[in-house]
């Protein structure tokens, strides 16, 4: 789960993609996995044969069968239905938190890179402080102090994502600041604010896009990990991490299904998002080299 340190961020300006390249992306394995997960989430009510929240005391901890494809959990709830519904919670929380982090990180990074001076110095120091925090423990501390709920979970994960994008956008902005078109825009009478918004930020979006997928992979695992220890969602609410925690106590007795399937879903989502991000990065690097 550790983040691999980023190499140089390539500067690639945005271009409208051709249909051929688009088709190649649409049919690569991670995109297919993500599409299946999304379909499962959207059509959960149609696909699930049981209500994800209704316990069935007579059917506790049933192994997978034709009736319950993924078996049942300690409350007798159908794991297949719950895994489907959980996709909604997990992907929403992960994607939303990364988007919020980006929304704050991009302007801050662009300002730090463009203005330089004490603004840059202060923001860089702040990111250093943020990165000294152990993320899971920090989330625990904040939620212990401010309240244990989903909204706070999203906000904390967003907060933890800000430094990543701040640093990335800053590093892309630095060479842009010296470029001719920025000089031209300044000569044309743009104020700093409009110049950053109109000319700097759009050109930082391509690398941000490939990092977005990697961050989401990490966020999915963070959400599951934090709810595994009881942060964010309350127990009956379908969520992968809390479902794994329900199954965790039964694994030593050889009942593998309550923990296996939600974990498999988490793994697939994280894997697909990470793989997609890596593919995007590689294609960006190729593009940057020519």
């Amino acid at each position: 789960m550790a983040e691999v340190p980023l190499a140089e961020t390539p500067v690639v300006l945005f271009r409208r993609p051709r249909w051929r390249t688009l088709r190649r992306w649409l049919f690569c394995p991670p995109v297919i996995i993500l599409a299946l997960l999304l379909l499962g989430a959207v059509f959960a009510p149609q696909l699930a044969r049981y209500d994800p929240l209704t316990p069935s005391p007579g059917e506790k901890l049933q192994p997978p069968s034709a009736r319950h494809w993924f078996g049942t959990d300690p409350y007798g709830m159908d794991i297949f239905s719950r895994v489907l519904y959980a996709t909604r919670t997990d992907l929403t929380v992960a994607v939303l938190s990364v988007l919020l982090g980006i929304a704050a990180g991009i302007p801050l990074g662009a300002l730090a890179g463009y203005l330089g001076g004490w603004v840059d110095e202060a923001l860089t120091r702040l990111t250093e402080v943020m990165q000294a925090f152990p993320q899971i423990l920090f989330a625990m501390a904040v939620m212990a102090a401010l309240g244990n709920n989903l909204v706070n979970l999203v906000l904390i994960l967003a907060f933890l994502n800000v430094p990543v994008y701040l640093k990335m956008v800053r590093s892309v902005t630095l060479p842009l600041r010296e470029s001719d078109f920025v000089l031209a825009a300044r000569c044309a009478g743009h104020t700093t604010g409009s110049l950053v918004v109109r000319h700097i930020i759009p050109n930082t979006l391509v690398p941000v896009f490939s990092q977005f997928s990697l961050s989401c992979s990490y966020a999915v695992q963070m959400v599951a990990g934090l709810s595994f220890i009881g942060l964010g969602v309350k127990i009956p609410h379908p969520e992968w991490g809390s479902m794994i925690s329900l199954g965790a106590n039964y694994i030593v007795f050889g009942m593998w299904w309550p923990a296996l399937f939600p974990g498999l879903a988490t793994f697939l989502a994280a894997f697909a998002l990470h793989d997609l991000g890596q593919r995007l990065r590689r294609s960006l690097l190729r593009e940057a080299e020519g």
Partner: protein
Amino acid sequence: MRSPWLGPLLYILRRAAMIFLVLLGVCTVTFIVTRLLGNPVYLLVGQQANKEILDNMIHQMGLDRPLYEQYLRYLWAVARGDLGMSRYTFRPVLEDIRLRLPATFELVTAAMWLIVFGGVPLGVLAAARPRGIIARFAQFLSQLGVSMPSFWVGLLLIYFFFFRLHWFPAPLGRLADQIAAPPRVTGLLLVDSLLARDHVAFRSALGHLVLPAVTLALGSVPATLQITRTTLLQVLASDYIRTARAYGMPARAIYFRYALKNVVVPLITVLAMTFGYLMSGTVLVETVFAWPGLGLYAVDAMNHFDYEPIVGVVLLSALFYALAYLVADLVSFAVDPRIRAQ
């Protein structure tokens, strides 16, 4: 004339000052989160306490004093190691941390060993034969490592190696129940049992350590592996390695005398980062294996609505992280003449 010690000394002082600033920032953030955004009184007495009790508590905790005074008091308390009291162990947080730190330290150290002695050779071999079977295995391992949730991996390992194969003991703590712990010297069971020449305890401690250490290492080994692989690939593609090859220098000399040296500095930085990460990553792994370390302490505290132990563990982890970076800087400084020249 300049003393030869002046340069390194100034460098160390500058790095130490940076670390100090980072730690001050960390304390400030925890102060803001716990005292400004959250209300510690509610956390301590619960929402339903009456006005009188609340006012009493507020006065007792000094929350009616001016903010800057509260802040300075907080910093002073942290600097003295006063991290508050735990409300469910009824001991000072620092005392609890001192009791539990060795367990986490032992686990993290074991995981670091696996990462260094597994990840680095794998990365080197993967770079030496980029299309070979080892390179593919390394790639596969990295993919799994970054996308498998560690706590889930731990559960799968427990299922196979405890329930199916019986290779390892039940995932309940550091030592089997029926075995007496060796006399506490360092708190690290492996070391203490060796000192006491207690082979039974040593075997049990080692057996309990393997699965959590592997679980913890798997998530963090990709970073080490990849930095070794990519740095080495870059170095091997460089002009001076090509020249060395053209001179007919044996491959072993090229690798060990020239190429691997360049991997050391980025590798040390990544290892410091990994160490800092593991201090946080142990929370989940310790929960899965009922490992009585700092992570489990924080989780227990959270379940008892006790926030001071969590903040204490956060501060300690940040300290470890900062120290790891300081050590990484100093080692890089000692190893790399290019940094010294600056």
